[in-house]
Symmetry: C2
């Protein structure tokens, strides 16, 4: 049996919220009613037309897209890389890295920079972080440039040890000792 108006409109509202990229025509097929009925429903529920919905989604995310964190690959810009030896990367702390309240960088960004650098410096197909000991020695503020230096310092029970120190100018802001698992011990 066909749905009554009220139920159809409720369903319609849900569906459009879930998948805003749906045309009136597709909706009319799904509900087995005419396009006009769908349009009337949208009118009554004040749901804008497809193009406006798309525009809305696009705009909403347009701001966010620019600051989108390249959580892929290495965090920060690698400026030097000698496999199985040392690596250096730079991360400029921007608005999106900090707590809005106090402009201090969230710890996981510094960690992400260090960790991805530790992964990158390992000359192997597979490198995974096993254990880490880290220290945040002083808060980093927005606008500061963090230079992370990773160096492979040795091995320990099947783990390669990478030490990472991050600096703002000459001040150490982060220290970490990464015990990395790798597929083939060189």
């Amino acid at each position: 049996m066909k749905l009554k108006k009220k139920q159809r409109q409720e369903k319609l509202q849900e569906m459009i919220e879930e998948t805003p990229f749906i045309t009136d025509e597709e909706l009319s097929n799904k509900f087995g009613v005419s396009i006009q009925t769908i349009r009337l429903d949208r009118l009554e529920l004040s749901i804008p037309e497809l193009r406006e919905r798309i525009k809305h989604v696009a705009h909403k995310n347009w701001n966010e897209e620019v600051r989108a964190l390249p959580i892929d690959e290495v965090i920060g810009e690698v400026v030097n890389l000698e496999l199985d030896n040392l690596a250096i990367s730079i991360l400029d702390i921007k608005e999106e890295h900090v707590f809005s309240r106090n402009q201090i960088a969230r710890g996981h960004h510094l960690f992400a920079q260090a960790n991805s650098l530790a992964v990158a410096v390992i000359n192997d197909e597979l490198a995974l972080t096993a254990n880490v000991k880290i220290k945040f020695t002083r808060p980093v503020k927005v606008g500061e440039r963090v230079v992370a230096k990773a160096s492979v310092v040795g091995d320990d029970h099947n783990r390669t040890i990478v030490e990472v120190k991050s600096y703002v100018h000459d001040e150490v802001v982060f220290e970490g000792k990464f015990y990395m698992y790798r597929t083939t011990e060189n």
Copy 2:
């Protein structure tokens, strides 16, 4: 003097990349050429029409919106929070969290979940991570759901200690001991 074709096309490409929400008409005004010229330019540069561009931006972010690394606030969804006591959050591991080669989650995502949870559980204006010891006990693969449990276990020299354990089902995948700095010792 009017720009030559080549220069105009370069500018055009830039402009559309910067602000994709621009119509041919607006472009034609900016460059002082006819709409048809703009259309020809787009054709030659294979730049899609406005609606397609909007759709693209919307779609691109539609995925991201849901999976959005909400690098703001807490990473993962908080399902339980008792300030200064314990907190639980859930993070579903998706494509964007893993190394494409082996589908294993990058460590910094697990760290980010744990770290932000440790920050969140602290009932204070300012909470910063000072030191951490962490262990990644087994790789997490795409599709798995990581449940992080943070508990405040005590104090140590002006630092609040928060232990975080993350699970996939009943298996521990991550363990961390966070020494948190806070403004006012309760």
